[in-house]
């Protein structure tokens, strides 16, 4: 009897572990050193600029995210400063409603490339844990730097240092 109880307890614990672990089977988060997932496989809305041989800053943002709004002027400035020198900035919007994105962009215009991850496929592949999260990719498409959130001038200074480093190495 004792043996049976032990066994059923093990079965229950096993089932519980399986069920609670299910979300853990999702894609592993993208980290520094990984190759960034393909844009073309994620059915993004909007057109992408030519990325061949370019240093790419991929920024995941949403209209409801306050730090995203604060980061846009800095991204616009970086685009103006390094756009001709080989940097491409791609803002990937993850809003569920297109109208939310449009409303945000009316108040906070962006001069860099924007695409919309309407099906949230690309963002799910990267498994970001905060909004905004940005990935700085080298000319080969490898993630070289990762930024969680946006901390104002501190993050902007880091962007500048890292972009210059990657542009030099190109």
């Amino acid at each position: 009897m004792w043996f049976h109880k032990q066994r059923s307890l093990r079965v229950i614990i096993g089932c519980f572990a399986l069920l609670t672990a299910a979300p853990g089977f999702a894609a592993a988060p993208i980290k520094v050193g990984d190759t960034f997932p393909s844009f073309s496989e994620s059915k993004l809305e909007g057109s992408l600029p030519d990325l061949k041989g370019k240093v790419v800053l991929v920024d995941f943002w949403a209209s409801w995210c306050v730090p995203c709004k604060r980061s846009f002027p800095a991204l616009n400035e970086l685009h103006k400063r390094y756009g001709d020198k080989g940097l491409v900035i791609i803002g990937v919007n993850v809003d569920e409603q297109r109208a939310s994105m449009d409303k945000f962009l009316k108040a906070t215009p962006a001069s860099f490339a924007l695409v919309r991850d309407a099906e949230q496929k690309l963002v799910a592949k990267t498994e970001v844990d905060v909004m905004p999260t940005s990935f700085l990719l080298d000319a080969t498409g490898r993630v070289r730097f990762l930024h969680r959130g946006y901390q104002g001038d501190e993050t902007k200074k880091e962007y500048i240092r890292e972009i210059e480093e990657l542009l030099k190495a190109r």
Partner: protein, 72 residues
């Protein structure tokens, strides 16, 4: 009888577990919506915050970034 009760409870608990869903950081648009806050009157929020800060020497956590919207 006891075994049956045990299994029914265990089965029920397992069914409840499957109802859990993780909201990913990029899916928090609805949660971050203003309609999800318990107080939508900004003047009231400011007054309450002032009183709370005076009494508790602490502030924040009411709809600003970091208050659960997944921003930073």
């Amino acid at each position: 009888m006891r075994t049956k009760l045990f299994w029914s409870l265990a089965g029920g608990a397992l069914l409840l577990v499957t109802g859990c869903e993780n909201v990913k950081p990029w899916q928090r648009g609805t949660l971050a919506d203003e309609s999800m806050t318990d107080e939508r009157n900004r003047a009231n929020i400011a007054l309450n915050e002032h009183v709370f800060f005076s009494r508790e020497a602490a502030t924040g956590g009411r709809g600003v970034a970091g208050g659960g919207c997944g921003c930073n």
